[in-house]
């Protein structure tokens, strides 16, 4: 029973750690399926987290914070979109620039206002996204196995978490069952085909980039208004990059993206849980090895050991009408 309990705890923690990955990963999926490579997820996540914390601090409203976080992230996305789509800039350079600017500016502005090394003040519960209890939680609690699973894993999460879990099926449906999805998949593979079909490559890509901004902004909001109760410099801690790794690992498909992010979240939770734990005969568990696993797995995948990860063909390639 003890093992079961700790498993439930680890899984619950995996969900909490997986949520920002899921949102950022699916955000990247939208952008890259349209042909815009987005290495700036990390920077947008930070921007979203910062804007959300600042506005929540001043207004005391989680929803106002969410709106601000998402708006800020979309604005940064549009900068990346303008550089990538209209100016045909190198998308890696643009994304890297966003990461660097976001990392520096959030800390700078935060420090300028509150002088706490870039940290924003602790937010009251009322300005946060609180876990909500689903019906029957109390009634089911005494039931063995099902009770803890229901109350820890299924119930008792905040709204952003439930949204994150809904976004994979929603994305799947949008990509494969809607007109917009068909066009989006096409524009990421062969924009010329979309253009000659009388459609706007630019419009589609801007649409995708904005959806990306909304989702990755939400992952930032989650960091500062749900996982923590403040913004702290560099608080995204490479999640944007892990999300990119997950995107590659999932081969740019929504369901596998969800699964991969949960797996990576689980590894993160495991490494936290194992901190300081001693395995008899082996000594202390090297948690860094577990933390490195997502990257190792992605590299192994890219090296071609587990199938083949083929990105959308036009990903990262600006569209220029041929003469």
């Amino acid at each position: 029973m003890e093992i079961f309990d700790s498993l439930v705890v680890i899984f619950a923690s995996a969900i909490r750690l997986g949520v920002p990955l899921i949102l950022a990963c699916i955000a990247g999926l939208w952008s890259e399926r349209s042909g815009v490579v987005d290495i700036g997820l990390e920077g947008k996540m930070l921007t979203g987290a910062f804007a959300a914390a600042v506005v929540a601090t001043f207004t005391g409203s989680a929803w106002a914070g969410l709106l601000a976080g998402v708006t800020a992230s979309v604005a940064v996305s549009l900068i990346h979109g303008y550089a990538s789509i209209d100016q045909r800039a190198n998308q890696i350079v643009s994304g890297t620039a966003i990461n660097m600017v976001a990392d520096g500016m959030t800390a700078l502005i935060g420090n300028a206002i509150w002088s706490q090394g870039g940290r924003t003040p602790q937010l009251p519960d009322s300005a946060l996204f609180q876990p909500i209890s689903l019906p029957f939680e109390a009634a089911l609690a005494p039931v063995p196995i099902l009770g803890p699973i229901y109350s820890h894993l299924i119930s008792h999460h905040d709204l952003i978490t439930y949204f994150a879990f809904a976004i994979a099926p929603l994305t799947y449906w949008a990509l494969y069952s809607t007109r917009f999805g068909l066009r989006l998949r096409a524009v990421g593979e062969n924009p010329a085909a979309v253009d000659t079909a009388g459609l706007s490559v630019r419009g589609l890509r801007y649409g995708a980039v904005m959806i990306c901004g909304v989702l990755v902004g939400l992952s930032g909001v989650y960091l500062s208004l749900a996982q923590a109760a403040y913004f702290q410099p560099h608080m995204s801690a490479g999640k944007g990059f892990i999300a990119l790794a997950a995107l590659v690992f999932a081969k740019w498909r929504p369901w596998p993206a969800l699964a991969t992010c949960l797996l990576f979240g689980f590894l993160d939770a495991l490494s936290i849980r194992m901190q300081g734990a001693v395995i008899p005969g082996l000594g202390e568990v090297p948690v860094q090895a577990i933390q490195a696993l997502p990257y190792v797995m992605t590299v192994v995948l890219l090296a071609g050991f587990i199938g083949k990860a083929i990105p959308p063909k036009a990903s990262g390639v600006p569209y220029v009408k041929e003469r």
Partner: protein, 514 residues
């Protein structure tokens, strides 16, 4: 010119269309009249302005001046969408398909019939079934386009246009990517479409196709429309004249060959491609000094691998290469060593292999020979010598413009090919491997290149010519080896064979006892 009252107006009428790209005057006051229900050919050399004209018709570009009439009505076409709405469909030379999507999805793209796909998909599926019956355009709607053969992909392109209700179908160099039998199927398809009163505009630079398929033909030259002919009342020499504006010798003057000693011999060559698929098996032949050996075959039957093997780019999986009576050991079969042995190589794909497009012409003109003394052996190049060397070659090979410092990409296809040819021939190799020397090259340059190849032969060089153009093989080769499926299916002398006989060999029909 006045229309006959009561007669149907022409499907397309272009009046005074003019288009410039910066200093390049691509279309000069072009007039074109395409009657409804005919197959109308447009021929011209590369760069004559055919594609620009059609891009204007399809809304890719807007003309600087001029008028477009569709079915007698003056229209403005500013986007592909508007062209489609006027019943114009286009089959591009490079297919506008999305390979990972299904046929159905490709056909639907841009004509989905609502924000959700399900209903539109059912309608398009029904429409495809209908078209399959009406025009014999069968294709599995659920197949992934990337898995289809090139011929079927082209069919999908045609279906895309028809599903959108195209009455006028423009095909831009549609046979460039097809095998002969696929081309025949395409022509059959187009005849069926014509019988259903569709109008077809067929762009090509192959006169044979014009003669066999079209009802009327318009000729473009350097951006101008030089004439429209009834196909039945014209002839290939007359059209070629109009295209080039001077007499072109389609049949090259060449004396009999005087073959000397065997220079190159392939013995039971086998070659695998990057994926381990055997592309060439048990291929043997000899090549003598002073002869041109033509390798004929449908593209993709091992010719590329043969060239790569002989030039040392691709390792052999079995077999031997003999040069001047001695077998080449494996270590000597790499590109640089082959060049030192006197084997020159004009690659099939000058864009990918032969040249570096962003380089200056003089830099592209010394690729692979950059360590030679003339260019300043050692650490630093002698830039003046490099430029002077290219300038001299440009003069000798009539490369235009004579600008050694111009980026390679800014030369036309024919002139790019001459840059490669000059580079390889000027080394005076004993053997020269020539792959598709006139692919994407205009008629004037073809003539020049053919003469150079024959001159190489007459100078006692051994020439191996790989070409998918049978006309070229017949015009140049002294001996013909046919490849099919990576095997030699026959050897012929040009005077004792014909296109039909070679066609059978190319199709792999067993060699009949002679």
């Amino acid at each position: 010119m006045t229309d006959n009252r009561g007669a149907a107006p022409p499907a397309i009428e272009l009046i005074g269309v003019d288009k410039s790209f910066g200093p390049v005057h691509a279309n000069k006051n072009v007039n074109l009249r395409v009657e409804r229900g005919v197959i109308h050919g447009i021929v011209g050399e590369n760069g004559a302005g055919k594609s620009t004209l059609m891009s204007i018709l399809y809304g890719f570009y807007e003309a600087d001046a001029g008028e477009i009439r569709v079915n007698g009505e003056v229209v403005r076409i500013r986007s592909s969408r508007e062209a489609i709405s006027h019943g114009i469909g286009m089959v591009h030379q490079h297919f506008m398909l999305v390979p990972p999507l299904s046929v159905l999805e490709n056909v639907m793209l841009g004509a989905e019939g609502g924000p959700l796909l399900a209903r539109g998909a059912a309608a398009v599926r029904a429409r495809l079934a209908h078209l399959a019956k009406e025009y014999a355009l069968e294709v599995d709607p659920d197949a992934i386009v990337g898995d289809l053969s090139v011929g079927l992909q082209q069919r999908v392109e045609i279906l895309k246009a028809l599903v959108r209700g195209a009455e006028i179908l423009v095909l831009d160099e549609p046979t460039a990517v097809l095998t002969p039998s696929e081309a025949d199927q395409l022509f059959e398809m187009l005849r069926v479409l014509k019988s259903q009163n569709k109008t077809i505009v067929f762009i090509t630079h192959k006169l044979r196709e014009i003669m066999s398929l079209t009802d009327r033909v318009s000729v473009m030259r350097r951006g101008e429309m030089v004439g429209t002919f009834e196909t039945a009342a014209t002839s290939p020499p007359e059209l070629a004249d109009a295209m080039v504006g001077r007499k072109v010798i389609l049949k090259i003057d060449k004396g009999p060959a005087h073959p000397g000693a065997v220079v190159l011999e392939a013995r039971a060559l086998s070659v695998q491609d990057d994926r381990g698929v055997t592309r060439l098996s048990d291929v043997s032949f000899t090549l003598r000094a002073g002869e041109i050996l033509g390798i004929a075959g449908v593209a993709g039957n091992g010719q590329s691998e043969l060239l790569e093997a002989l030039s040392g780019i691709r390792p052999l999986s079995a077999g031997e290469i003999w040069l001047n009576g001695a077998v080449l050991p494996a270590w000597a079969r790499e590109p640089k060593a082959m060049r030192r042995h006197g084997v020159g190589h004009v690659p099939e794909d000058r864009h990918r292999v032969g040249l570096i497009m962003p380089f200056e012409a003089c830099e592209s003109g010394m690729l692979g020979f950059h360590d030679e003394k003339v260019y300043g052996a050692g650490v630093l190049f002698d830039r003046a010598a490099i430029v002077a060397d290219e300038a001299a070659k440009m003069e000798a090979y009539d490369i235009r413009p004579r600008a050694p410092l111009l980026r390679t990409a800014n030369f036309s296809g024919g002139n790019q090919q001459k840059i490669v040819l000059a580079r390889e021939i000027e080394r005076n190799p004993a053997v020269i491997l020539v792959g598709q020397p006139t692919r994407g090259v205009d008629i004037g340059a073809i003539e020049f290149i053919h003469k150079r190849i024959v001159a190489m032969r007459d100078a006692g060089k051994a020439v191996l010519l790989v070409s998918v153009e049978l006309d070229e093989i017949f015009a140049l080769a002294d001996r013909i080896v046919v490849l099919c499926g990576g095997r030699v299916t026959g050897e012929r002398r040009p005077e004792e064979t014909n296109a039909r006989d070679l066609g059978l060999l190319m199709a792999g029909v067993a060699e009949r006892a002679a």
